[in-house]
Amino acid sequence: MAYKVLVVDDEDEVRSLLDDLLNREGYLSQACATGEAAIELLKKEKFDVVLLDIKLSGTSGLEVLKNIRERHKEIPVVMITGFGYDEDLIAKSKQLGCCGYIGKNMPVSQILSTFKHLVKKAREKEHHVR
């Protein structure tokens, strides 16, 4: 069964691109623009993984990550950001419990392969825990 991915990005074009790319890769993707909307969706539906932009208007991506961790310990969250490789942001994201970090400056193929790899690793970890 296909993985259900929740994409959170406040930029329309980026959100719809990530949505299209993930669907093409065989994921079942759903997208929203704000952290608040993501938290609401997570209350109602079950997702296998969240792809979360760090810089969101309103509640920031890191705040959303913190919130998800408090409520849904099991969902892997992959952070994505236009800030590229930023040590501070990576450290903060890891500290708050994300399972990986993707820079939007990476080539598309690499973004997708990193995402797949992170999801696979998270899945394995989950199995291992079980």
């Binding site: 980026v14 810089k55 705040e63 800030f83 942001l89 820079g103 400056n105």
Partner: protein, 483 residues
């Protein structure tokens, strides 16, 4: 023989009868007065030597001196000023000696005078003070001092004016002072300056003067009026201080700070470029397998839009970073702020949600200013606002029209605020509370606003946020029928 001797003594020798009429004199009297023998002999000495009407009192006194000298049979020494044939004042040391006949009756006087003008000037520098003072003043090149009459015609052009402005006194006296004032200056023409002087008595402003060569000279101009006994302005005194060097240094600091500001924004700028870049490469990737021509066109349009977004941002950065010549133009302050927003809206604080609220005055009158310098001011204020809110918050930008006199821009944040003991220092150069700040941003902003004859103020409460208020004067219409 005696005549020859007297003519060559170098002193004035006059023989007077007892009434003071000249019976005999040497050539020196002719030389000094420019009169010839016929005009001198038989005339009263007071009439010959003291021809100007102002010396009536002097004449009475001198007559009294002579009468006393004869009465007491005593020589008298005194000094007096006479006018020579060219109208120059000569200081003469006189010796008046009475002559009595054998029966001890006063017969007349011998008057001997020595021209001591030059000797006195050498011996006593205070007599020279005016000349010395003028020499010193004319040696000052950084200042220009000129006067006009109430109609603005130049009546005096001294103290460095020639050196600074390149006009000679002869060429400019009685010309209108308007020709010295650069029409493109930040605060418009001479008439507006004089209007302010009439209103305030004294007016100081940063402006630009125009040299004869066409060179524009930045100055601090202080203008005072002087009033006649009836309280009416009888003229204006202008003192201009050349601030070219200061302006050059300010401008270099301004360029450096601009680049430092861009450095602080670099992460945000990268973010703003990475997003559309991802869309471009992502869409291109998806289009590789696309067969549907309509979807193909849609995808290509998306790519194009994103490329334009990057181009716009890069243009904005270049426009901001580019070295520009300071130039005042008529500008719309709202537009200046709009140009800054794309640079700031993606500030380098990625973790915080920051909302920008804009409330712009519609139909804002135009101001005269340098758009690049003002962009720098607003960018600095916005960067500060963003950096004061690491946990997120709101920046409100409000522009308004203050009674058709000033454009006001308020930038309010809901950030950390500035402690009271820092408030008085925040416009000082090199004052910074940030680890990475140059401490020049606000001091440069302050200078820029000052050179626009505006003001910048701050109010702040720790924990509540800060508000920076910038006021800039609108372009005032010239008074119709002015100078």
């Amino acid at each position: 023989m005696l005549h020859k001797l007297l003519d060559n003594t170098g002193v004035i020798v006059i023989y007077l009868d007892r009434n003071g009429n000249i019976l005999l004199c040497n050539k020196k009297v002719w030389d000094i007065t420019g009169l010839n023998g016929g005009d001198i002999i038989g005339k009263n000495w007071l009439e010959v030597l003291f021809r100007d009407k102002s010396s009536l009192l002097k004449k009475d006194m001198l007559k009294a001196v002579m009468d006393e000298s004869m009465k007491l049979k005593r020589e008298k020494d005194f000094e007096g000023i006479i006018l020579d044939k060219d109208g120059n004042e000569r200081l003469i040391s006189w010796n008046l000696a009475p002559v009595h006949n054998d029966s001890d009756q006063a017969e007349g006087n011998i008057l001997i005078g020595q021209d001591i003008t030059e000797a006195r000037e050498k011996a006593c520098p205070s007599k020279n003070i005016d000349k010395t003072f003028k020499d010193i003043l004319s040696g000052i090149k950084e200042y220009a001092l000129y006067l006009t009459n109430p109609d603005g015609l130049i009546t005096y052009f001294g103290m460095g004016s020639e050196a600074m402005l390149g006009w000679s006194k002869r060429d400019i006296i009685f010309k209108h002072a308007g020709i010295l004032h650069y029409p493109g200056a930040s605060n418009s023409g001479l008439e507006l300056i004089l209007e302010n002087v009439r209103r305030l008595g004294k007016y100081e402003t940063e402006t630009e003067l125009l040299a004869k060569t066409g060179e524009v000279i930045p100055v601090i101009l202080t203008v005072n009026h002087f009033l006649d006994s009836a309280g009416k302005p009888s003229g204006y005194i202008f003192i201009a201080k050349d601030i070219t060097e200061r302006k050059k240094m300010e401008y270099q600091a301004f360029q450096a700070e601009k680049l430092a500001a861009l450095g602080q924004l670099s992460a945000g700028i990268a973010h703003e470029i990475n997003n559309p870049l991802l869309v471009i490469s992502g869409r291109a990737e998806l289009l590789k397998d696309e067969k549907d021509s309509q979807k193909l066109i849609k995808g290509l349009n998306l790519i194009d839009t994103q490329a334009q977004r990057i181009r716009k941002l890069v243009d904005g950065i270049l426009r901001f970073a580019r070295k520009t010549t300071p130039a005042f133009k008529e500008i719309d302050l709202n537009e200046v702020i709009e140009l800054v927003l794309p640079l700031i809206c993606c500030n380098a604080i990625p973790t915080a949600g920051i909302e920008i609220k804009k409330e712009f005055e519609k139909n804002m009158p135009r101001i005269k200013g340098d758009p690049h310098q003002l962009q720098e001011v607003f960018l600095n204020l916005l960067i500060n606002a963003y950096q004061s809110m690491p946990e997120g918050g709101t920046v409100s930008i409000t522009t308004s029209n203050l009674q058709d006199l000033y454009a006001q821009v308020r930038i309010r944040d809901t950030g950390a605020g500035i402690p009271a003991h820092h408030l008085k220092n925040i416009f000082m150069p090199f004052f910074s509370t940030k680890d990475y700040g140059t401490g020049l941003g606000l001091s440069i902003s302050h200078n820029i606003i000052k050179s626009h004859n505006g003001s910048i103020e701050v109010e702040s409460q720790v924990g509540r946020g800060s508000t920076f208020t910038v006021k800039l004067p609108f372009i005032q219409k010239e008074v119709p029928g002015g100078l």
